[in-house]
Symmetry: D3
Subunit: 242 residues, 6 copies
């Protein structure tokens, strides 16, 4: 990940692994407890069901296409923002493209996805569309998208810059933020909260497994979900006995 040039504090060991076991529903709820209300992208769906993704955000910003600007910035040059972010992404990086939610052209296709894969990227996320969708399925990288459209990006988009704050799916992302994806979609975790959220979300998921079993077994919701103090104690005991 070319974020290495940005001088970010490394994440504590094991945080990404822990988050990789947490659900986006629990992470979103734990962020809400910290006062962060909007952390989950709207309108950005997994390309394949049962996808799991975790990694650090590498951001790319598209603006509306403008013929004079595009002429100055051929994608053959190494400093073209799209080529630069993709060609140099580091292991564990996730490319996130702000496409302003436009679904009227693709943002990238299978060749660029193949380069992300070859570099060891952990995924690709955009609130725009992708092209060559069958080819992209073949690449096998976790992919979250707004839709599919075969037109090349330069019909609608101009790749303006990279490694800057962006929005995607209505959520703000700072380079280096941690992204977690599952079948629901993608949640953005501010980098400084990643470790704290990891532990809380795993606990949250675990007690919900216990509650789910209680409910499946016929218990009423009342007192159990949300759990009252007794239910939390019962859960803690059950954990010891596992």
């Amino acid at each position: 990940m070319s974020l290495s040039g940005l001088g970010l504090e490394p994440l504590p060991a094991g945080v990404l692994e822990t988050l990789g076991r947490a659900s986006t529903a629990s992470i979103t709820s734990e962020l809400f407890k910290l006062g962060i209300r909007h952390s989950f992208m709207t309108g950005v769906d997994p390309l394949e069901s049962n996808t799991r993704m975790v990694g650090e955000a590498v951001t790319l910003r598209y603006l509306p296409f403008r013929e004079d600007l595009n002429a100055l910035q051929p994608s053959s040059l190494p400093e073209h923002p799209q080529r630069k972010t993709i060609d140099n992404i580091e292991k564990g990086g996730i490319l996130v493209i702000d496409a302003r939610g436009s679904l009227r052209s693709g943002t990238l296709g299978e060749i660029l996805m193949a380069r992300l894969k070859a570099r060891g990227a952990a995924g690709m996320v955009t609130d725009g569309a992708i092209r060559d969708v069958e080819g992209i399925r073949g690449v096998g990288l976790p992919t979250y998208i707004g839709g599919v459209h075969a037109s090349a990006s330069n019909t609608v988009h101009y790749a303006a810059d990279a490694y800057v704050p962006i929005q995607c799916g209505g959520v703000t992302i700072i380079p280096g933020d941690v992204l977690v994806g599952d079948s629901d979609g993608v949640v953005v975790i501010p980098r400084k909260y990643a470790a704290q959220i990891a532990d809380q979300a795993v606990y949250h998921d675990d007690i919900e497994v216990y509650i789910y079993e209680r409910i499946t077994g016929g218990d009423s919701l009342i007192g159990v979900y949300p759990p009252n103090e007794q239910t939390v104690r019962d859960y803690e005991s059950s954990k010891k006995n596992r």
Copy 2:
């Protein structure tokens, strides 16, 4: 279904079973003949393909989140509208949630779905989103949704009341109306028309099977679809010979 407290006339025996064999396309067409033009929900899709659902509507109404109201109404209390409708739903009831078409948060997740299942509910329908989608697939209850979003409902929604008229997917639903779902989506049948529509829709489906065979066999549409009097007579004869 806690509709039992509403003093509704019971449906005639066998009506739900008959409707369970009818397609939503035929039901919608038969309701149109009765002058009801808009009975099918727009933007509410089955979570799983090949889903079939039939049951009586139990309604829950969400309004936009407002911090002062939410504080007064913790979801831990039995009278919380969401908990009340779910915890007490009766066999054959279908929970229908008016989420005003907002897809910016979930309306419920797998634990509440598990409770619906444990109570014998016949399904869950919302024009909002659900969270924990993999978990909900695991519950195995017929589910019709506007989308998927991992945020908890209280990011966007306030559960205002229950057992009242609502809209869902642009259609008005009165508690006790009959809902039928198939792969196309969900149709709302006014309770008083349920028996009449059941018979007509099954007839409608049956003659369409006959017409489909004629068309597949090479017949022109003209005179056959829509069927003229001769085609109806031919269908009636063919039925006797089956």
Copy 3:
């Protein structure tokens, strides 16, 4: 295809076959080089994954339902625009319905699809919805749609005319234009460019297979994608050696 009455120049032999091997992403890019920026339909998705479709456009235009007009035009008459286009479609024709992007009713169902199939049509495309989706899957004709809705078309649509220029998915289609569909969706090729585009798109796809292998093998994007002159020469050599 009833386009035979329109006096169009026949397509050169083999053009449709060649286009049947090309991707919509490459076709869209080649049309862009000819100055045609918007050729790919937005919001029109394949009903089934891995669909392939190629054929000539037969157009049908819907306008908003108006009760007085509908009464004058029963669908039982041979000259009804929907019945006329479907009943008489010729081998290789693709029915394209301009539904103004409305997803609030179906445009057709399984019986009309069965007639298209029986006539040898190559596919059906609409930016509206279809009804009887399970039945339509059973017909097995390539189908590209905006959505699914069980209401019959006359809830929302009036079939105004046929064999005229229309829009579908935001793209203009002239009767006889060539449509190609794959998993990305549907591209419209002006009839007079079909032969030229066919050759260019197949070349485009072929060099992208070569580039994909280079990238998968670890090459940087720079110089390879987009290919510089050396990369093009390397590709040409590799072709000779295959």
Copy 4:
């Protein structure tokens, strides 16, 4: 109006004058009684407040811009659909442009409006945008629009054909239909109903003036609005005494 070539039955004498005194609210209500539910354009507003307009529809249809088609159809030629409809419009004609509701470019500007005025047209209506809005105010022709945008139409639109059925603001218009505009917007009256609706709408407006006075004077709505039989009798008496 170049509709004279279409062989329409002339409207009975005085119908346009009568409709010129009726409100669109009453016309819409009277059309509803005839079973026509959607006759009033949505999203098409008067450019100036206190505008009144009545005339016969001359239709012009735009489709999405396509570079190859535009090159074949320069607007300098007399047969260009936009120039043809505008240059030849007859006295009392209203140009109605189907712009598919797109507000991303203008459909025409002040010079074309000046030509409409010089020809004696009764107005201009579009669900797209206009350009040169100050100039158009200066022309002084009744104008109903979706919005304002300075780009020329060929950024987004291709003028496909004229004198055909179209939609505008979600309502279908047949050439020769009667359009009435006031401060609320524009209603479409099927030509054959124009005379009948004219009389009913004027009566409707007149009794509402009577009811308005009763309500302003302190009467309850009940029995008065909607008027029961007694109220209708009272109105009829009051008319005699005027």
Copy 5:
């Protein structure tokens, strides 16, 4: 206002008068400080510029039109929800109609507005459209709307119930909440906060007048807006000297 039947605590004397001098911008900011983030209606604009409105909410809820329900509920009956709320509104009440943001029909016209005026209502608010807009201007009651459409409400709406919690413009309103309108639009104040907000908003407006003068006089924003402690002290002194 027929809210008198709901048993609400009366508002402290002078609260409505104080709020009548406050701007919606300041009220919204003060509610934000209490944790209420969404209190201002989106897409609901004053019909006339320089409108001021203050009063207590009387709520009316529309649902999508359904032919069978409408037949059961003629608007001639006193218990029809729309007639009931309007006919019986009390002095200072503001009718607020939840029209689900639909602009495809009117919600009411000049006669019903005249009745509101005659009863002493303080205003009318809807996120739907109104009809007879010129007539409504003539009535002269403060009016906040989503748009204008000449169709009667029963083309699109069914008046479901009254005096219940609703949404309007994306904000939840409880009967008896205080509504304040100015040229920006309408803010909803939870009834229990009305007195507290009134004082704070008037203070907020007052200090902003002081700040505005400082800025107009050439001061930098820094330290002045938002005001630091010194600026607040300077404001307090200036007040004494007025």
Copy 6:
């Protein structure tokens, strides 16, 4: 304008004055001739009719509100992007705010507008909303907006950065681009084309005045609009004779 720090080439003398006399319709058409198709903002309207504006773009970028980021960036600090751009704007600068088209909160109010005025700014443009609209009218600076909303910006927006490329109303703006506004709205002129476009647009407007007179005098459009060679010669002669 704090653009002075960006090292831009000064505009040739008189360019802004010349552009100040040109219409946005002509400028947009001349940019189209240079290959720039999308230069005019969609959905950004003048607050007051008959507004004229010309100046150089100072850009400010908003992203979706995120509680943790907002806490780090109090608007009391001089380096806050919104305060920085406004407090330091130079004479002739136009503040342009990318609000992602969101109309669910204000972007600024009258005090910040007063500071822009005091600094000699030439205008303010946003595709978001403003608050304190009456106060802003009082400031008297040319203002182009997406709408009006009384909530403060931090309900929905986070001021992310300044002096960077942005979009507004669907058009890309580079700091230092020239903006021209009239009653139609706002056009963006790439800085390097400003001088060339100024001359062409003034010529364009001038010949259109001539054409307008011809059309008003009864001439047909054909040969006159668009002008053929003879019409251009006639215009040139008429100019000499003026």
